[in-house]
Symmetry: C2
Subunit: 197 residues, 2 copies
Amino acid sequence: MRADARKNRDHVLAVAGAAVAEHGVDVSLRDIARRADVGLATLLRHFPTREALLEALLHTSFEELTAKADALETSASPEDALVSWLRDCVGWTTEYRGVTVLMAAAIEDTESALHASCVTLRAAGARLLTRAQAVDAARGDIDGTDLFALIAALAWLGDQPSLASRAGHLFDVVAGAILTGAAAGSAVDGGATEGSP
Amino acid sequence: MRADARKNRDHVLAVAGAAVAEHGVDVSLRDIARRADVGLATLLRHFPTREALLEALLHTSFEELTAKADALETSASPEDALVSWLRDCVGWTTEYRGVTVLMAAAIEDTESALHASCVTLRAAGARLLTRAQAVDAARGDIDGTDLFALIAALAWLGDQPSLASRAGHLFDVVAGAILTGAAAGSAVDGGATEGSP
DNA sequence: AGATAAGTGGACCACTGATCCGAATATATG
DNA sequence: CATATATTCGGATCAGTGGTCCACTTATCT
């Protein structure tokens, strides 16, 4: 790649990061190009689709999450590791408003630029889940895809302005449903606001 | 309203129903107008926003769901009534792909044409929930909005092609989390496919 | 320095929801 | 039945979206 192209690419990526943080992943690509003083065509050549742009943007985040899963696998009890990692996953998505829908679509779309990252993430979660199931800390009738779906659903809740305030509490509820309950009381801090209609 | 206008309105509504059933709630309004042999402006005068069109389209469904809640309140045990109604709600949304996002946005947007219907639905669910909580059949730390959020999250799962296959099973998981567990085993048929990665 | 391959971005396309306004039309009145 | 009027209609238009094309510029290598 030519030096100026690399510079342009990096600059676009930096601007895109700011734009996504500000307006969510549905931000207009044309706006990003404008803010980067670059033609839309240039942006689209470096990143042919919105997914490709996001993949480049979120790549390190994905790696961090899978690394964290690996670390937790040896540093924490199976149930603590699982719940802690789930919390990290859901919490992470809040930084990228709207990314949940794209990830849900990508997990089965091998054409999507986000596909590989999503599959890796699911595998990392599946490892933690299996480990928890092995010691009967998590119910046995769910698999990695179920876990991925639950993460996505909880993350989606956090994306909805009207429901985001409940996301934290409902995370505890759902996490409690995943765990068998033996040690759930300590693993899940159910201290959220009591039901207040 | 003039007779021809009413006829036009009804015709548009019928066509919209077919279009939404076919392509989901994000179907192009222009397409609906075209299929109804009507100008886009005509459609938008009868239904100024997409929400308004959907409100007219889903009005009877909303009424049926709240009526069902009322009926269940006297015909079934608190836990059975709650779970059965939840299942109906989630199942209903599958007929209108994409409606979940709009409903989540409408529940707190008093300007939305769907606002009133969503609030009514939430209230119906809250009644069933309170009744179940009164006999300790449902956990006490969730309220009507939490329930609405959980329904929305499960419905959203059903909207995602890649995750829809898990929606049924995960409904059981989440329903089990709402119930206290005393009678959960019988109220929730956990017979879905075992985890098969 | 010149040849050549690579990168660029303005102009364009089809599409979206939304708005305007002259034309068509149903209804009410003479 | 004929005319007047108020209502409804829909094509034209606008700003916005993602995406594609291609003449032009520019960096790089010989």
